[in-house]
C-alpha cells in the first residue's frame, strides 16, 4: 500500500492504493475525475525526492506527492 498526497491548490484528500511503480499510480490517478485534469501539469515526488521516472519501483509505505504548478516569491 502506498499513499498519494495532493499539494497546494488540489482539493483532494490523501488516497491509498496498491502500485508497483509510478506508472501504476499514473493509471489509477487518470481514473479519478477531480485529479485527471491536473496531471499534465503536475510534478511528482516520492518520499520527498522529486522524480520524473515513471518506471520507478515503489514499496509498501512509500509516499507519493503530486505537485501542481508553482509560483513563489
Amino acid at each position: 500500500m502506498i499513499k498519494v498526497e495532493f499539494l497546494g491548490p488540489m482539493a483532494q484528500e490523501i488516497i491509498e492504493l496498491e502500485a508497483q511503480t509510478l506508472a501504476d499510480v499514473a493509471t489509477q490517478l487518470q481514473n479519478i475525475e477531480s485529479v485527471a485534469p491536473w496531471l499534465d501539469k503536475c510534478a511528482v515526488a516520492v518520499n520527498d525526492e522529486m522524480t520524473a521516472n515513471l518506471g520507478m519501483a515503489l514499496k509498501d509505505g512509500d509516499r507519493v506527492s503530486i505537485l501542481p504548478p508553482v509560483c513563489g516569491g
Binding site: 499539494l7 499514473a26 520527498d48 504548478p69 513563489g72 516569491g73
Partner: protein, 160 residues
C-alpha cells in the same frame, strides 16, 4: 587571521527561513549582513519581493511544501558553495497584504560577477521550481493564481 574555506564549511547553518505572514525584511537583511560580517565576501545581493497592488487584491497567500523546498534549497547551497558563494532565503507562509514583503533571498560571494550571475539564476529557478503555491486574496476569498503559476521541471509524467 582569515577564516579559511574548509573551516567555513563546518560552520554552515541552515539559511532557509520560513515565517508566518509578512517578512520583517529589515531585520532579516541585517541578520544576514551580521552573520557574514567576518566571512570576507565582497558582494552581498539580496532580492526582496513585495506584494504589488493590482487586480484589486487585498493580499497574496502562500502554501509551502517544506520537505521538498528544503531539498531544493540544499542543492542550491551546494551549487553556490562550488562557486565560493553562499545563498540565503526567507519566505512567508499564509497571507501577506499588499505592499508587504513575502520573499527575500540573497547571494554572498567574494566576487561581484559570481554574485550577479547567481542571484539571477537562483531567483529564476526559485520561481520555476520551489514548491510554493500562490493565491489571490480578494473579499476574504483565496483563489489559486493558476495563470501565473509554472509547472515544475518533470511535470506531466503521470498524464496519459
Amino acid at each position: 587571521m582569515e577564516i579559511e574555506f574548509p573551516f567555513y564549511l563546518l560552520c554552515v547553518v541552515d539559511s532557509l527561513e520560513l515565517y508566518e505572514g509578512p517578512l520583517a525584511i529589515e531585520s532579516i537583511f541585517s541578520k544576514w549582513l551580521h552573520e557574514e560580517a567576518e566571512s570576507n565576501y565582497g558582494a552581498y545581493i539580496p532580492f526582496v519581493g513585495t506584494i504589488r497592488a493590482e487586480d484589486e487584491i487585498d493580499a497574496l497567500s502562500f502554501d509551502i511544501y517544506e520537505p521538498v523546498l528544503q531539498k531544493w534549497f540544499d542543492d542550491w547551497e551546494e551549487k553556490a558553495a562550488k562557486r565560493g558563494a553562499k545563498v540565503k532565503m526567507a519566505h512567508a507562509i499564509g497571507d501577506v497584504p499588499v505592499h508587504a514583503s513575502s520573499y527575500i533571498s540573497a547571494v554572498f560571494s567574494p566576487r561581484r560577477r559570481v554574485a550577479l550571475e547567481l542571484i539571477d539564476e537562483f531567483v529564476e529557478d526559485f520561481k520555476a521550481n520551489a514548491p510554493i503555491w500562490k493565491y489571490d486574496v480578494k473579499d476574504g476569498k483565496r483563489v489559486y493564481a493558476a495563470d501565473r503559476s509554472t509547472p515544475m521541471v518533470g511535470s506531466g509524467i503521470l498524464s496519459k
